[in-house]
């Protein structure tokens, strides 16, 4: 698959008023967004997600490194902008306008007019589920409705690429699910989506690939199935004797504190689960469940960022010496 957005050692330093106040928000980023995928761009607050997105849109300018969009380097060019829809983080839309007027305004900026404009605005209102509120003032919209109008605004020209900065942050669970469904639908229509988020669960469900950013550095980038490591098997038993418990533990099985009758055993992937089951059977414990345990994105995140955190701590120690 072709890359529609490519960054090459992209670096951004925000210059402070004084020396030593400079903030390195992005360090030598090599990111690639491929055609037709949903790339989840993850990282805690302040890790540089918004900075990356603003660079892609030409709202700010790189300190060094470069980026290419649809193979072109002239980032501010109208050709590129025509193909990108953008939803900023926590955006506001002219309060004094009706939902539909907001979309007409943005549509006109693409040169849409007359019947085309009307049709497009109708389509995107339908798509984001805002047809009924189209004639209400934006002032009276809920947060979820504003976000939908924002999404509609990004879609009004039917762009190939969508760049959404924290599209579901601050919304209630139902609104989140609806927005997620819309995003999947757009991907299925062949659009490329770059979605930033600091909430992992939000994007784990829908993304093709994830990139994890931490402190301005891309820690990992790949398909979820490749990134998540082999999983343990979780066995839950009832009535486990203390003796059997000891034997299991000495055999490398992680035994969690019993909750009531039930004890949870974590069998590492390198151990034969049948041995564990046999042992439990011999000890007259009864089986409750056996299931593979998938590593979650959250665990991956902690693993990746945790390493980074540890490394940073060590480096500091070294420099202190």
């Amino acid at each position: 698959m072709a890359a529609v957005i490519e960054t090459d050692k992209l670096t951004k330093i925000y210059e402070g008023a004084l020396k030593g106040q400079d903030v390195t928000a992005l360090k030598s980023l090599d990111l690639e967004v491929r055609e037709g995928e949903i790339l989840a761009y993850l990282g805690p607050n302040g890790s540089g997600k918004t900075t990356t997105i603003k660079l892609i849109l030409g709202l700010i300018f790189p300190t060094s490194g470069s980026l290419k969009i649809m193979g072109r380097k002239d980032i501010g060019a109208n050709f590129i902008k025509r193909n990108i829809g953008y939803l900023p983080e926590g955006a506001y839309y002219p309060e004094f306008l009706r939902g539909e007027e907001v979309l007409r305004f943005y549509g006109q900026l693409y040169g849409l007019a007359g019947r085309d404009l009307k049709r497009r605005v109708g389509d995107v209102l339908e798509l984001v589920g805002m047809s009924r509120a189209r004639n209400r003032m934006v002032r009276g919209y809920s947060k979820g409705m504003r976000q939908r109008i924002g999404l509609a605004q990004a879609l009004v020209s039917d762009p190939k690429i969508l760049i959404l900065d924290e599209p579901t942050t601050g919304l209630d669970p139902i609104a989140r699910k609806e927005i997620r469904d819309i995003l999947v639908r757009l991907r299925n229509e062949g659009k490329t989506l770059l979605i930033s988020s600091h909430e992992l669960l939000e994007v784990e469900l829908i993304s093709d690939r994830v990139g994890i950013l931490y402190d301005g550095e891309l820690k990992t980038l790949g398909a979820l199935s490749d990134l998540l490591t082999d999983r343990d098997i979780t066995v839950v038993v009832a009535g486990l004797t203390a003796q059997a418990r000891e034997r299991l533990e000495s055999g490398g099985v992680e035994v969690e504190e019993a909750i009531g009758e039930h004890t949870t055993l974590r069998v590492p992937s390198n151990r034969n689960v049948y041995e564990v089951i046999d042992l439990c059977k011999a000890a007259n414990a009864s089986m409750v469940s056996v299931r593979p345990r998938r590593e979650t994105l959250e665990e991956l995140f902690v693993r990746v960022v945790g390493d980074a955190g540890d490394q940073a701590a060590e480096k500091q120690k070294e420099t202190a010496k």
């Binding site: 603003k54 849109l57 030409g58 709202l59 700010i60 300018f61 501010g76 109208n78 902008k81 025509r82 990108i84 829809g85 953008y86 900023p88 983080e89 926590g90 955006a91 506001y92 839309y93 002219p94 004094f96 306008l97 305004f105 943005y106 006109q108 900026l109 693409y110 040169g111 924002g150 605004q153 990004a154 020209s157």
Partner: protein, 279 residues
Amino acid sequence: MTNVLSFFRGPWTIAMYTWREGMRKKILIAFLILSLLVIFGSNFITAFLFETGSQSGTDVDTKLIKDICVTAISLFGVLITIFISASVVPNEVDNKVAYTILSKPVRRYQYLLGKFIGVQLIVLLNLALMGALFFVALYIKEEVMPSLLLMSLLLTYFMFLIVSAFTFAISCTASSAVLPTIAGLFIYITGNLTEYLKDVYERAGQTTQLLDALIGKTALYLWHLLPNLKAFNMRNEIVYAQPGDFMQIERIMMLVSYSVIFAIAGFILAYWIFRRREL
């Protein structure tokens, strides 16, 4: 031709929406009500002051009305001009509407042009409404001199245009309207004082001391460089107008060109500031 059209389409769309937004601002209505009060209030004040109703009284009193109204229009007008010019860009940078607009196929100069034109539409409409009120007030007094009034309003607008352009340019550095508003007031006040610079030059020229000469030269350069806003003021002509008076068309054309040149310089400055600004 189609190129020209498509170039102006973006700015025009932005201008229209800027205008709509501006018209919703309560402060505009507040100023309009204020000017309504002043203009019609001046009628009552003068009626109260010159109750005698003698011949000379009427004369003095229309003069006073005109004086109050002309001053009120240019003062309220310039305040609105400064406030609107200082706020349109910073507000949109602050609330990120500028991000969404600039991510559409709109170049930064087109965005600025749209905003600037929108501001001018607001200022013009506002001035027209205040002028209409003034006209009505004078009509009541049977002291109508429409052409002179119209010329005066026209020149007032071109004075606003200079203030607007430089306030707008300064606002392109800011993400709040506070500083550019203060800067706008400063521009307005300084622009009305430039005549004193010439005084300074002339007086400094009388001694031969080095420092004086230096100050004199600086004053002269500033006098040439800074816009002289007082030149646009037709207060005297209006107040002391006699039936049959008219403005010299050359003078008006001169002032209009003078204003347009400063406005273009101001806009270029705005673009130069905004071109590489990090949003």
